[in-house]
Amino acid sequence: MKQITTFHPALRIIHWLMAAAIMAMLFIGVAMVSTVSTLHGLLVAIHKPLGLMILLLVIVRLWLRFATATPALPATLPAWQKLSAHLSHWALYAMMLAQPLIGWAMLSAGGYPVTLGHLVLPSIVPVSNDAFAVLRPLHSWVALALFMTVMLHLAAALFHALILRDGVFSSMTVSRKRLAPGALDNPADGQ
């Protein structure tokens, strides 16, 4: 059986697309709520459709993640690192899915029309001051948690890429040509 060393190509493309989109969203988010300059309106206008795009991408991504085989972490990795890798990944998936939905729900609760150009999206929660009062700060808190988790994820990825060079980083980039033999341990191969 062929050992899987990389994620499915579609997953790799979506990963990097979402990485760029989410980083852009986080920057746009903090900038648009603080600035009083003419950028404000422009940033708000980008934030909403980009959020919807991220929501659609994460749904496709989760489906692909379950439908395709994934490379295992190196056997050399200590158990606590494996555990934190898995936990942080599921935390990232959860936040990527929740954050656009919280944003949408928050706009609905605030009575704002959720429009994308000519398209008016339905409200997903009724207009409610109490709901808005919970969802609006939640949107900020999840953004902060997401940013910090992404930074940890990035640091770990760089650690794998630059120090360990164990194929974890390249499993999300291009197909690797120079992989040290045995660097990957896939339990499915009974190695």
């Binding site: 605030g110 990035l154 760089l158």
Partner: protein, 333 residues
């Protein structure tokens, strides 16, 4: 190793910069709201400006005249429901109605397709300042001095030297007597917007809600009650609906889109777009308008913001104020 920590740290620094946390000199929505809280006092659960007001319910009946300028559905002949708010300027919800010079009318029009038009208008002919910095500086300059309890004249003079555009506003304020009723006030958009027609062409406009009732100045009788505007509106609505015409003013050659301190000349083309009819009022805390942020950038297809810098600042600061007061109202016992 430096890269591993360096890249995330650099990104963290960048996001702090983007959020305005690294530059103390940068004007942010937080600072604007804080300045308003200083001048009007801190009143949890209330709007940070125009804190005192009432909710109004009614509808807008369009005659179709403005359809040539804007493809927005609400300008086509027909009736659009409206939830609005009358208020007095300032951050103090306990201010006596007669003590405040400027009043406001905010409206949210609910189009059938789900889009909304939200607009906040004021009963003054033009805005005191043309820039956001000017607005912030004005709030700071008019703060009462800790010793005298009155604004420091030296600060005010320094402000006027820097923002000479305020002189016409002071001249207007000196001679202006507010009307005896919200129903006798004319409310103006002040900021310019673009109406987009069915061919996609923009038309630079401002608008006003012009009352059917005549202007009548406030007199001594009104000063007997701190809430005389609310009492007056209640009495009038008990007698029948109150009406305003929505008058669209089209910019002429040379009219600026980004300077709300200058009134456009009186000879500009004016279009009566239809009639606003108010039938009901409710106290704001229980009313439908309480939960509405009258953000001037919530616009339907057919209306877009101009490059007036005040619009973005209003949108950004209103959102901060809205987040704060909804939170305070939700946690209040």
């Amino acid at each position: 190793m430096a890269l591993i920590a360096g890249v995330p740290l650099l990104l963290t620094a960048l996001i702090l910069w983007a959020g305005g946390w690294l530059e103390t000199s940068r004007l942010t929505s937080d600072k604007l709201v804080a300045a308003l809280e200083k001048s009007g006092g801190y009143h949890p659960g209330y709007r940070r400006n125009h804190a005192k007001g009432v909710c109004i319910i009614g509808d807008f009946s369009a005659n179709g005249n403005a359809s040539s300028l804007s493809r927005a559905a609400l300008f086509a002949p027909g009736v659009t429901p409206v939830v609005g708010r009358f208020a007095i300027a300032g951050g103090n919800p306990n201010a006596p109605d007669y003590a405040v010079l400027v009043r406001s009318m905010a409206l949210a029009f609910y189009q059938k397709n789900g889009e909304q038009w939200r607009t906040g208008m004021n009963a003054m002919p033009f805005f005191p300042v043309k820039s956001v910095q000017g607005f912030y500086d004005l709030q700071s300059a008019t703060l009462p001095d800790a010793k005298t309890g009155k604004p420091d004249p030296a600060k005010m003079q320094a402000f006027v030297r820097q923002h000479r555009e305020i002189k016409p506003f002071f001249a207007w304020a000196k001679q202006y007597m507010p009307a005896s009723s919200w129903t006798r006030d004319r409310f103006n958009s002040l900021n310019a917007f673009d109406f987009i027609d069915s061919q996609g062409h923009p038309h630079l406009v401002r608008w006003s809600m012009v009352p059917h009732a005549d202007y009548q100045p406030m007199d001594e009788k009104e000063k007997e009650h701190t809430d005389f505007l609310q009492r007056d509106l209640q009495q009038r609505l008990a007698q029948g609906p109150q009406k305003w015409d929505l008058i669209i003013t089209v910019a002429g050659v040379g009219d600026k889109s980004n300077d709300a301190t200058i009134d456009w000349p009186a000879d500009r083309q004016k279009i009566n777009a239809g009639t606003l009819t108010i039938t009901k009022m409710t106290p704001q805390q229980q009313g439908a308008c309480n939960d509405i942020n009258y953000d001037p950038l919530i616009l339907p297809d057919g209306i877009t913001a101009s490059d007036d810098p005040l619009l973005n600042a209003r949108s950004s600061a209103y959102a901060k104020s809205y987040n704060a007061r909804t939170h305070e109202q939700a946690v209040a016992p």
